[in-house]
Symmetry: C2
Subunit: 388 residues, 2 copies
């Protein structure tokens, strides 16, 4: 099977850009990735593009061709929609396409605009990622759904809001060294605990913000990288996807996310590694509890052990297994359809040594990214390894 | 590279099902395909699902997991959105995934609900497949856009409304033998010419109807088919995708669809065939002029020659190259996100000999399907071949 290498990565600044169009945002990220890769424009063969709610935010469906033009590329482009895992599944198919031998050079990325909508409208728009018949009509929104999962976790395994506050504190601290992050503001555990309740037991600092932004990654076959002498030290060695029932009510356990376990197991097997080999991780912390569930589903912690990881300093910048050095969705921001490839951008830079937090993981060889859709009804995990 | 075989196909009746949910429609098609395939439920590894406007029609995004449950399968499912080519690109990635060796058994399909919306709301919802900034704001809808293309065609190459009427008459006649078709009503050239103008020069019978429906295809590796002794005589031997500028104003020629040419050239090269080898075709006739443009873009006719093909009897049931024996989008119906795989279902049955119109092509060996998005800003072409 062809090895897949990451030749270039690009991001916009994450934050509030209500005055910019989606195509403008994606153009910036795609052109940055193209410049970073240094690959001839004519060699791009296909674009894999993630977007969640363009129909609602910009009245623009069929964004593939629109974004190909924005990226300045004359090749087919396909849009993937998988809620918050949209760019993750796009990236996965980009990897599969190179591995199949059908292409040598592709671009994967994603974009989301959210701040042009009001807060209530954004919450309602995000809710279409839940089960319309069995959740949304009953009044479920995502803060409420993740609050249910947090409550179930506390009941099953212990832990409390202070443990979750440490996750937020950690991720805000990590974002200080990330120029592209939405927030550059350190917070304390007391700040988090004293913030307004959003959905008990989750408060404001347990939730990621509303974010506009785009991300892009240039992927090439090993053979192409060699032939063209590209500086592309990071490879994608493992890819996995998992699925679960859309509605929480149909699942046996609210404090576990087996879709992520299936995705991780598949990605580890694909890469020929185990969770003990992971040096650094970017996980889908749309809420602080989601980071905890991810750590456990990925086999990085046993069930019940993940909740205290940040408080114990194990997943912080100076810990043994730094998690979300980018700042995570919590502090870097979460432009939904762009997050999956944004995680790959951050991990690539962390492993290459050109990230603001690379000094925290100077010897890291294996990184894992975990991107989730809805209440982890969808999950995508990738293993990235750097030549050292 | 692994050969890909079609082990089973399924459809709902196309038509107006405003009282049925999308998951109900997809369940029917998927279960029919699963029954036709006779593959063990546990062997399904991934679902590739096309849907265009579920956010607007059912307030349901993230349909992958919802549809996996509807199909009765416990495997990851990804939603593809590429306007009217949504199921076409989903099918293409299903083929690529089997070829890459990542899976042996997958299900590809699509679903669309439209009739629960009013006619004006459907037209506005469909318009999100056009360029929002440069077309929709200027008042372009799809009947208007295809009318511009028809007018440009007549100006560049000749032909007239009567030629287009013959396309509608042909496709209505073909649908008479298709139990799943929305219309079972033969029409005459006069009926078509006397029908109300929708967007000059296109009248009512130049346009496909508004349709609810779903389609599904079970794909397996050659190796799996052999090991399990499956009766799967139809193979997917070629796959190609092409892209173009989203907005008509950015294209050099309104009477050509180069995205389809790129897709067809790639698919023919992949299959090792040329257009002369094609025995039967299902093409994307959302409007009668679209069938004409498809015939020419696929190299089945020279530019300017396609418009008279139906009138000359060459693409009719008894012609040398029957086109849209299913009835086409025109008379079979066009549930947009389901159409790409519905074409594959029809072609598979035509080639296997169990279609109501199989007797028109008893010796056909090579069939081509052509699925387009927007004003052919996206196109997907597949080559199917049957063992004879």
């Amino acid at each position: 099977m062809t090895d897949v290498r990451i030749a270039g990565v690009g991001l916009t600044k994450f934050g509030s850009h209500p005055e910019r169009t989606g195509r403008d945002l994606f153009a910036e990220a795609a052109l940055a990735a193209r410049e970073d890769a240094g690959v001839s424009r004519d060699d791009y063969e296909e674009i894999f593009y993630g977007n969640f709610m363009g129909e609602l935010a910009e009245k623009q469906g069929h964004q593939g061709p629109v974004m190909a033009e924005a990226a300045g590329l004359d090749c087919p482009a396909t849009r993937y929609e998988q809620a918050c895992a949209s760019a993750g599944v796009a990236f996965r198919q980009a990897v599969a396409t190179i591995r199949s031998g059908a292409a040598d050079v592709v671009l994967a990325g994603g974009m989301e605009r959210m701040n042009n909508l009001g807060t209530a409208e954004v919450t309602q728009s995000l809710a279409i990622a839940a089960d319309e018949l069995f959740e949304v009509r009953a009044g479920v929104t995502f803060p409420g759904a993740y609050a249910l999962m947090a409550r179930a976790y506390f009941d099953a395994f212990g832990g409390d809001s202070e443990d979750l506050a440490h996750v937020a504190v950690k991720n805000h601290a990590n974002a200080m060294q990330n120029d592209y992050a939405q927030f550059h503001r350190e917070i304390t555990v007391d700040d988090a605990l004293e913030s307004p309740i959003v959905a008990d037991p989750l408060s404001l600092y347990d939730a990621c913000p509303i974010t506009d932004g785009a991300s892009a990654v240039v992927l090439v076959s090993d053979d192409y990288a060699e032939r063209h002498g590209l500086d592309a030290p990071v490879s994608v060695t493992g890819s996995g996807q998992g699925g679960d029932k859309a509605a929480l009510q149909d699942r046996p356990h609210l404090a576990r996310t087996p879709a992520a376990t299936k995705a991780a197991d598949a990605a580890y097997a694909d890469a020929g590694i185990g969770p003990d080999d992971v040096d650094v991780a970017e996980v889908h912390d749309c809420f602080t509890i989601a980071e905890v569930l991810a750590l456990e589903s990925l086999g990085l912690y046993d069930h019940g052990e993940g909740v205290g990881a940040a408080a114990r300093g194990e997943t912080t910048r100076d810990g043994d297994l730094p998690v979300n050095l980018s700042g995570g969705l919590k502090a870097k921001g979460h432009p939904v359809g762009a997050t999956g490839t944004a995680q790959v951008v951050e991990m690539t830079k962390l492993l290459r040594g050109d990230h603001g937090n690379s000094d925290a993981v100077p010897d890291a060889r294996v990184g894992v990214t975990h991107n989730a859709g809805g209440t982890v009804a969808s999950a995508v995990v990738h293993v990235l390894e750097v030549d050292r």
